[in-house]
């Protein structure tokens, strides 16, 4: 789904002593079927931006386009409701939002809330649960009997069951063990690949994931866009990233440091372990 931010400004608590502008001069285009990664420090405006793209907030100035709908400061609340059907949001620690007595009912809650019949909603719920790898034998159990990793999967299934076109992921792997992290990231990619209608916006602190999955990276800093481009374009600018307290993926950092010390010819923009090792091997074996 096409999404765009036009001259967006967002200020919290306008007119109060606590007034604070969180975003300013934001101009962004998210193409259909794109995988966008938002990076930036705590407090850089990431959370505000994703809430604008999901209709949870309205811009103080400028406009947000989501598909063929436009959200401005005076857009009526009931129009935002439709937006939320199309844009699913996986918040941080989504398992904290589980509440129903059975796993199946919890996952079916979203689609039913959007007006689907119980039968249809449960069918959707089952499909989503299958996608996230929750076995059928667990459907009638309480979500609170599950392990942390499984609870996260159920919560994610709850978002997918509403069949959003764009999925917003806010640090979806925080607190999981390394294997769990990888599994969840792959699961989202699989969901994304299924249809050309689907897009993802990922908020993360993991530069490795940003490089691996993103086709567009957006670096936010103090409520503005600091850098934007493909992973290669962004991670080439190590100095500009470091200035905001961010870093490059570990593969790039290693290769840059090797290049600095050896003064050899090294292509530093490698994001995968194997290509990084190949680059090192070719450096070691080259006569220079």
């Amino acid at each position: 789904m096409y999404m765009e931010a036009k001259n967006v400004k967002f200020t919290y608590m306008v007119g109060s002593p606590f007034e604070k502008t969180a975003l300013q001069n934001i101009n962004l285009t998210l193409e259909p079927n794109s995988y966008t990664v938002l990076i930036g420090h705590t407090g850089s405006g990431k959370s505000t931006l994703i809430q604008l793209f999901n209709g949870l907030l309205k811009p103080t100035d400028g406009s947000i386009q989501i598909g063929n709908r436009e959200i401005k400061r005076d857009t009526k609340q009931k129009h935002l409701y439709d937006v939320r059907k199309d844009v699913g949001m996986v918040f941080q620690y989504p398992e904290h939002q589980l509440f129903h007595e059975t796993i199946l009912k919890d996952v079916a809650f979203g689609p039913m809330n959007f007006g689907m019949s119980q039968e249809e909603a449960e069918k959707r719920a089952k499909e989503s649960l299958k996608l996230v790898g929750i076995e059928e034998g667990l459907y009638e159990r309480s979500p609170f009997d599950l392990s942390g990793g499984q609870m996260r999967r159920v919560a994610i299934a709850g978002v997918l069951a509403s069949n959003p076109k764009t999925l917003i992921l806010d640090e979806p792997t925080a607190g999981l063990d390394p294997q769990g992290k990888e599994d969840i990231m792959e699961l989202f990619y699989k969901w994304y690949e299924v249809s050309e209608e689907r897009s993802i916006i990922l908020v993360t602190h993991h530069m490795e994931d940003a490089a691996k999955y993103g086709d567009q990276l957006i670096v936010l800093e103090q409520g503005g866009i600091h850098l934007t481009g493909t992973p290669k374009e962004v991670f080439l600018q190590g100095d500009r990233l470091r200035k905001t307290g961010l870093s490059q993926p570990e593969t790039v950092r290693l290769l840059e440091s090797l290049k600095d010390k050896s003064k050899g010819h090294i292509d530093t923009l490698k994001f995968h372990l194997n290509e990084t090792v190949d680059e090192i091997v070719s450096f070691l074996r080259k006569d220079q």
């Binding site: 420090h41 063990d177 090797l258 090192i280």
Partner: protein
């Protein structure tokens, strides 16, 4: 040789009867002033084990836990054990209770009736150790995640325990916050002379410890110095742990006939890896 301060004998544990065991036949000894890291995937039993260390969990028939020689099964010991062993948990927001940083650090002391003069002294000292000077009057919820965890740790060390157990204390923090908290944990270990027991699934954070204890399905798979654990690829795979990036690079290079181990047996960080690569290149 430092004395044994934690001794665990044949400890097994299940949350409810007829449920699988979360800990099976654990035997473990920890010495005073050691830095121990317990690693394992989600559900490996590491957090359950941690809760036995300060008598939050008490063994039933299966096994015994001694802290500074005190058997935690005996009621009169439990209070003492909790004074000796302090815990810091995962979520900073669940641990901070007071309206200002200094009040929060003082909270534990107030509850145990420490005299005012001494309390002020100890709060000041803990705040200094954790680098929180200037934040005394701030509201904890306005701090960054890393700063919040430092406040939580300051509150713990003000109680002057002998051992501090950190149960995934960095897992909710961003990379900057993690680094910051790790730095201060090193201080607590090196300057305040506390025994540190860290629970994590990030092997990068285990590099500074004296020993790594690898857990899987409630059992201890290995108890060895970091370098030995990191080099044991088989073990890491089996326990679903991700080797550190520097180790992954080394083992991939080895597959391609470049054995950096011959140049330097102890490569744990990026600088050492780059140095070894440059040495290798020069030798060619």
């Amino acid at each position: 040789m430092n004395k044994d301060i934690v001794r665990i004998h044949n400890l097994s544990f299940q949350y409810r009867p007829n449920e699988p065991y979360v800990l099976t036949d654990i035997n473990l000894t920890i010495k005073e002033r050691e830095w121990i890291t317990i690693v394992g995937h989600n559900g490996s039993g590491k957090s359950s084990l941690a809760k036995f260390l300060n008598a939050l969990f008490i063994p039933d028939e299966d096994g015994e836990v001694y802290i500074y020689g005190l058997n935690t099964k005996e009621r009169q010991n439990q209070g003492k054990v909790r004074k000796l062993v302090a815990m810091v948990f995962q979520n900073p927001d669940n641990q901070l209770v007071a309206p200002t940083v200094e009040d929060d650090v003082a909270f534990g002391l107030e509850n145990t009736g420490v005299p005012r003069e001494e309390m002020i002294e100890r709060v000041k000292e803990s705040i200094k150790i954790m680098g929180l000077e200037g934040f005394e009057k701030q509201e904890p919820h306005r701090l960054s995640g890393g700063q919040k965890q430092r406040v939580a740790i300051a509150g713990v060390i003000a109680m002057k325990p002998k051992v501090v157990v950190l149960d995934e204390a960095t897992s909710m923090l961003d990379p900057v916050g993690r680094k910051e908290v790790m730095e201060y944990i090193r201080r607590v270990h090196n300057d305040v002379n506390m025994t540190v027991i860290m629970i994590t699934h990030d092997l990068n954070e285990a590099l500074f410890s004296d020993r790594i204890i690898v857990m899987k399905e409630g059992k201890i798979l290995k108890d060895a110095p970091p370098i030995e654990v990191l080099r044991d690829e088989e073990l890491l795979k089996k326990s679903l742990l991700k080797p550190t990036f520097e180790f992954e690079v080394q083992s991939k290079l080895k597959e391609k006939g470049i054995n950096l181990f011959e140049i330097s047996p102890q490569i744990t960080n990026q600088k050492e890896l780059v140095d070894a690569l440059c040495t290798w290149k020069q030798k060619m």
